[in-house]
Symmetry: C2
Subunit: 525 residues, 2 copies
């Protein structure tokens, strides 16, 4: 199976005729073969029509069938072997161990959702049996399940070419929910996208599912992506990328004749709070661990620690010292794309040029083609006066905010935009102080973690990777972990529906042996 | 406790100073005393500040405390006695039995949500215990719960002065979720609003809750309502009303620095599908039942059957005959407000004046101050060519769409906007045909009901009162029934949080004995 420059429209594989797209070797900048073509409006139309046609069949596949499909995708991705790993390394500049790890995560996500589908809890089954003798009025028979929203547009992410792209978390959760998926490949890794797309397409065919269950389009500009979000047959959007890109899609979705939900994961600087006792006892060690988190994957994580908040103290100085020492040994890193590198440098230059900001540490300089880690510091009062210092710099740059006292820490918290994560570094002596600000931090973020950093997002049932705007467009949900399936569902009630017309999961006797609420009581009845 | 013309800002009761508002006797048009005053911008600011200040305390009340609060509101509403019923009858023009029934429903909703709070299922508790020895990386300890979004703005509805107004479904579900509520009283029933607002305020005080848990503002224009939705401290909106009003609030919410969810229940014509065998066997009886549903509450229900779809047949003629006979005996009805009556007449005139539409039945004419029921008919091909025939006419008007065949029925379904309900009238001989179109109907509506009409919305666990746009702004949710609590929640993950800082519901040993998912497995562990 070699890369042929093809996109996938249902069961067909075809090169797009709308402009030429190339992958590039992220390290060398060299153009990679073959060329890819952007989708035409006809391709978009056909993918949407097929997805719409597939929806009613795909969504009524049995839970077991759907789980087997997700597992087949996982198997097919592994079967791509080294070609996938090598192409992905080249297109992303990420090291082999990371790409192999990310492949493991991608496959793990698909298998997690296979389990979620079999469990059936996501269906939120509820039965309120008829009460024909109730006075003054009888109660009808009411049965509720959640059904999928419809075809979902999934935009591949630059920073997770496997785990949040063609068969990544958004695709896995949408397919698990029963939604056909139309992927929009990220132009930075077209070869990776094609390989994974073919793996999904093969699973659709092998499992005998309707061809429109999955399509993958390339886009030589923005027309196809925007057209997907605007198409009346598309009923939800999954996106991971920039704030500008995400809010543009939100506007398109809100302006449709029928607005649809957009789940955009966009921008987070993931504040790290250092508490007095913790930094006093182990400031330097926290600083070293921070430097490792900051530079992981060239800082190209949504959960990268871009802000450090602490009260002035010797402990804080130790933290900065530890971070500076560790960073000084960190090599500059290849970034995902030339565009991302340029944006990183521009962001760093803007902060460095700020009158109130001082550079306090840096990684090694790697020349024009590498991203150099940077740590800056600023007084809280200056930070509070300069809203732009909260703008995400995608890459290994962070800012220490030095506060005079706890009251100033509280002001900084008040000023924060929505975040994916907040980290607290605390010792037992800090517990009371931590407890006092936890309610404020809960308002800000989707995940609160202690004595660690947000990088390294566990794919699990209790994970939340989501938070108030602008970290995501919709803080009521998560994009990582099994709860992500909820994003693509809506409830439907069946009233006095004859048994022959009821969905199987809702029939008397609980034939599928799922958890259901009967008269409000949860159980396996 | 008499009506004093006051609004409630936390624990204070004060007459608004921004313009004069009067209630009117809906039947006579007579002005009711006393006068009320619209809230000033200062009132709005203070209500928002109090709600924000109350949030962190109120949301961490124990489940039992919160349940008792909801029950106290219910008791206080009943304690208002006849003054509430009489004022509500006068302001709404609704008959006493309906108002008493609606009061029962309002109290029932509050008690239902008390049960939902005690059950704790809405917290969606999940634990993935640490795996310190896992290779290649240990798994951290992850715990998830849902927390409330923050202060919620609730807009009272004209057509449910009790059940969807000051202490109605939106307020009950938001308070149950842990959100402070700022109500915006509907100007059509200010006296009813004040009485109920005082009942809520008393419960806040008696239960020792922070005063900002509840406020109620009057609005002499649109400035206060719009200001509420725009305020940065308000985090969600509940609204029941017109499509124009709802979409205006959606735009304000989407344009905020931090966009927030709007749950607007707006516009639905609730299609009724008559199947061949059913109308053949009992067309006339269905027609009579239809007329009763159409004219219930002067047709002023969101679930009023505004569209009837069937293939031409003698059975359909019997249906029209039955409906016409029943309607001919129906007296014209007082409508909620003069504005609603005017809008109803305008809507009826527009349909009546449509070249392709014929009037086939009417209720009794009640003169200029009453709404007369109307039934129209149109050929499917003409209906499909005239999008405006799908506009909701709020009141007792409906339109029969006569289709040539099943293919034309399918075309009509394709053309439908999102709906709250769809009704199917079927006999066993119709099951196969019904089964064939059910998937299409599921895409359109939130509730599918058989051999009945959508009016009469049961408040239950398995109810869905919500559907795709424009029936609601967010079809992923319901505004009636216990699942409504989900609208006001978001998930938060706690990673490696020391036991002393964990929320009680998530601690080891399950101290609250709630359902939780541990490693993905549902149980009471």
């Amino acid at each position: 199976m070699t890369i042929q420059g093809q996109q996938f429209i249902g069961e067909t594989a075809v090169k797009g005729a709308n402009g030429e797209i190339f992958g590039f070797d992220a390290a060398s900048g060299e153009k990679l073969q073959p060329s890819f073509g952007g989708a035409t409006k006809d391709d978009l139309e056909r993918a949407c029509a097929l997805a719409d046609a597939a929806f009613d069949t795909y969504r009524e596949t049995s839970l077991e069938e759907r789980a087997l499909f997700l597992e087949a995708i996982a198997d097919n991705i592994m079967a791509l072997g080294d070609e996938l790993v090598e192409r992905c390394c080249a297109e992303s500049g990420l090291p082999r161990a990371r790409v192999e790890g990310e492949r493991g995560r991608t496959v793990g996500q698909l298998k997690l959702f296979a389990g979620v589908v079999r469990d059936g809890g996501f269906l939120e089954l509820r039965l309120d049996p008829a009460l024909p003798d109730r006075k003054p009025l009888p109660r009808p028979d009411l049965r509720l399940r959640k059904i999928p929203l419809g075809p979902v547009a999934v935009f591949g992410a630059s920073n997770f070419p496997l785990a949040f792209s063609v068969a990544g978390g958004d695709t896995a959760s949408a397919l698990a929910a029963g939604c056909p998926v139309i992927g929009k490949a990220h132009s930075a890794h077209p070869g990776t996208a094609e390989l994974v797309g073919r793996a999904v397409q093969k699973a659709v065919k092998d499992r005998g599912l309707p061809e429109g269950t999955f399509s993958l389009l390339f886009d030589s500009g923005r027309e196809i992506g925007q057209g997907l979000v605007a198409d009346r047959r598309v009923r939800a959007v999954g996106f991971t990328g920039s704030r500008g890109g995400g809010t543009a899609l939100m506007r398109i979705a809100a302006g449709r004749e029928q607005p649809i939900p957009v789940y955009a994961e966009m921008s987070s600087i993931n504040p790290v709070f250092l508490f007095p006792s913790a930094v006093k006892n182990r400031g330097e060690a926290i600083g070293k661990a921070f430097a490792a988190s900051l530079t992981l994957g060239a800082g190209q994580f949504c959960t990268n620690p871009g802000l450090v908040i602490a009260v002035e103290s010797e402990g804080l100085d130790s933290f900065v010292k530890g971070a500076a020492e560790a960073l000084s040994g960190m090599p500059a890193a290849v970034m995902l794309t030339r565009g991302i590198l340029d944006a990183y440098r521009k962001g760093v230059d803007a902060v460095a040029g700020h009158a109130a900001v001082a550079e306090v540490a840096a990684g090694q300089d790697g020349g024009a083609s590498r991203g150099q880690a940077k740590l800056f510091a600023v007084k809280a009062e200056d930070f509070l006066a300069a809203r732009e210092l909260q703008d995400e710099i995608f890459g290994a740059a962070s800012l220490v905010v030095r506060c005079r006292d706890e009251a100033e820490v509280a002001k900084v918290i008040e000023s924060l935009e929505g975040q994916l994560t907040v980290s607290l570094h605390i010792d037992e002596a800090d517990h009371a102080a931590a407890k006092a600000i936890l309610p404020k931090l809960e308002r800000v973020a989707g995940r609160l973690l202690v004595n660690n950093f947000g990088t390294g997002v566990e794919v699990a049932h209790a994970m939340v990777h989501g938070g108030p705007f602008p970290s995501t467009s919709d803080g009521r949900s998560t994009s990582v972990g099994s709860l992500a399936i909820d994003r693509f569902l809506r409830p439907v009630c069946y009233q006095d529906m004859p048994a022959a017309l009821q969905p199987e999961a809702l029939r008397d006797g609980n034939p599928l042996k799922l958890f259901r609420r009967v008269d409000g009581v949860m159980g396996q009845n």
